[in-house]
């Protein structure tokens, strides 16, 4: 595990800023401010973002460009596309919405 990048899924490219803490379903998670939220969650091992309304199947990010609408999560009580939402210190993220 690459301690300096918080996860072995991130690779070195340029300098990243100091990590901050966000809260995912109540648990603290370290992520980089300015990163998109869905990738930050992936790096922290959180792949399941919500469930489909009809069949209730687990869903995660898919297109990463704001088209598929799969990556919807609640952030500070607003429903957002986590592939476009940026990590902010102290953000409260809730996954698992059946939407």
């Amino acid at each position: 595990m690459s301690k300096d990048r918080l996860s072995d899924l991130r690779f070195a490219a340029g300098k990243r800023p100091e990590p901050v803490t966000i809260y995912v379903d109540g648990s603290p998670v370290l992520a980089y401010p300015g990163e998109a939220l869905a990738p930050a969650l992936l790096a922290a091992g959180v792949r399941v973002l919500r469930t489909s309304p009809n069949a209730g199947t687990a869903r995660g990010m898919f297109c990463l460009m704001g088209v598929c609408q799969e990556c919807l999560v609640w952030v500070d009580d607003q429903l957002v596309l986590s592939c476009q939402e940026r990590v902010r210190a102290g953000a409260r993220v809730e996954t698992g919405a059946p939407l």
Partner: protein, 465 residues
């Protein structure tokens, strides 16, 4: 907020940035809208603004080119407004967007649409499992987020993104369990003459193949993913051989790969929702991605004052996109009565024509695989949003659903939040089987809002906030 502007450009990818910068440099009042928080589109997508890009610019010429275009845009006098989702447009032109401050209404004399493309998908059981992303999505993850999709990924599908993603993962230190290419060696050989005009791309492709060999990555040509399995995320991928038209050979042995990620995609299709909403005429051109707006050599659509640029006019790649941006801008300037260097325009148009010929050759490799859709098992979830299976679609077709809009009413396919962007190609291909082709089944009627918009944005407007 309602504002008047001479020229509105929608989409800040290579084409939109170039079109807007060119127009503004010629002195026309130009506003550029994009839904992302920084300009760049997909090809020039930047890493987060909080990260330091210097090292990336030094090591990656494509990234440096994107930064240079962003710098040119910033210096050109364009009013660049990021974070704006265009959700409606009306002839005349009125364009509605929702952004950070709420609703914005624009009235523009001329509009250039540079909306790019979306990726086409062929579904399979398990394609909705977390850990499965598009090839375009994997490209974004690698380039803009500096992240691997997983520790061990199967990379599958068709088109130029396939090898690029596989090599990108290897170069970033990840494992590729297999490359699963729908195309067969014969398909690549047939496309070879078209590559003769782009020896640089041939060299790059050869380099990619060598890299895969060096890492011992199995490359399965003429194969497709037929299922993904796992509890809450993908763990096992099954792959079958296909025949020349993409039909799955379930009578032949399958291969299985243990993974924690799967990247899959089947080429790109132009985003035409805005050009349809604005009532431009379209035609079906499978070799350049599907439905495209009719346009002339100056990128004019059938609607006066409406231009298109980049891949939303037909899939051709990033270089032609930038040239199309210049042509559209000069075309708009000329139509607005501004002085334009006709000699320069003619030179660019001829360069563009040469590049577009090449783009068409590689796009043929990305023809949507009808055979693969034909052999989808009935329980395959086709519509992700509404969990509609192939069996349900086939029932509706058997019951007499005659075109795509009727099929949508009967099955709910296309009614979900993605508005049919994920399942559209598959549904249209299923509907077209035995009906004489895609033109016969039409296209889903585009209605506003063309993007889901938050109710609070409308709410704030109503209460005058």
């Amino acid at each position: 907020m309602m504002r008047d502007v001479d020229l509105l450009v929608v989409g800040a990818g290579p084409a939109g940035m170039t079109a807007a910068a060119t127009a503004a440099e010629h002195g026309i009042e130009t506003v550029l809208l994009d839904e992302q928080d920084q300009p760049g589109g997909q090809f020039f997508r930047p890493i987060p603004a909080t990260f330091d890009a210097d090292a990336l610019c030094r090591s990656n010429p494509d990234y440096a080119a994107g930064e240079a275009l962003r710098a040119r845009l910033a210096a050109s006098g364009v009013e660049m407004l990021p974070g704006r989702k265009v959700w409606s447009a009306e002839p005349g032109f009125r364009v509605d967007a929702v952004g950070g401050a709420g609703l914005e209404k624009w009235r523009a004399r001329q509009v250039i649409l540079a909306c790019g493309t979306t990726e086409r998908m062929v579904p399979f059981p398990g394609w909705t499992l977390p850990g499965t992303i598009g090839l375009a999505g994997a490209t974004i993850l690698l380039k803009a987020h500096q992240m691997l999709p997983g520790r061990r990924t199967v990379v599958a599908g068709a088109g130029p993104l396939l090898l690029a993603v596989a090599v990108g993962i290897l170069k970033a230190g990840g494992q590729v369990a297999a490359v699963v290419d729908l195309a067969r060696p014969l398909d690549w050989l047939r496309a070879l003459p078209g590559f003769a005009s782009r020896p640089d791309l041939l060299r790059r492709g050869a380099g990619w193949v060598a890299t895969l060999k060096r890492h011992g990555v199995p490359v399965l040509s003429g194969h497709a993913v037929t299922s993904a399995e796992g509890d809450d995320c993908v763990r096992l991928v099954t792959v079958h051989p296909v025949d020349g038209s993409g039909r799955v050979r379930r009578d032949r042995p399958a291969r299985r790969f243990e993974v924690d990620a799967l990247a899959v995609g089947n080429g790109l299709t132009p985003s035409v929702d805005l050009s349809r909403l604005l009532r431009a005429d379209h035609e079906f051109r499978p070799e350049i991605g599907g439905w495209v707006p009719l346009r002339d050599a100056a990128m004019r659509t059938s609607v006066p004052g409406l231009f298109v640029a980049g891949d939303c006019a037909g899939v051709a790649g990033a270089e032609p996109a930038q040239l199309r941006g210049v042509v559209a801008a000069l075309g708009a300037l000329a139509d607005a009565g501004r002085p334009v260097d006709r000699g320069q325009l003619a030179k660019i148009q001829s360069r563009l024509a040469r590049q577009e010929r090449f783009g068409m050759t590689s796009a043929r490799l990305m023809t949507f695989p009808q055979g693969l859709v034909e052999t989808l098992v009935p329980e395959t979830p086709v519509c992700r949003c509404e969990d509609v299976t192939r069996a349900e679609i086939d029932s509706a077709l058997a019951a007499g659903a005659s075109d795509l809009n009727q099929l949508k009413s009967w099955t709910r396919c296309g009614m979900g939040p993605c508005q049919g962007r994920m399942c559209g190609e598959t549904v249209a291909t299923l509907a077209a089987l035995g009906k004489g082709g895609r033109q016969a089944v039409g296209a889903w009627t585009v209605r506003q809002p063309i993007r889901p918009i938050p109710v609070f944005a409308v709410d704030q407007e109503e209460s005058g906030k």
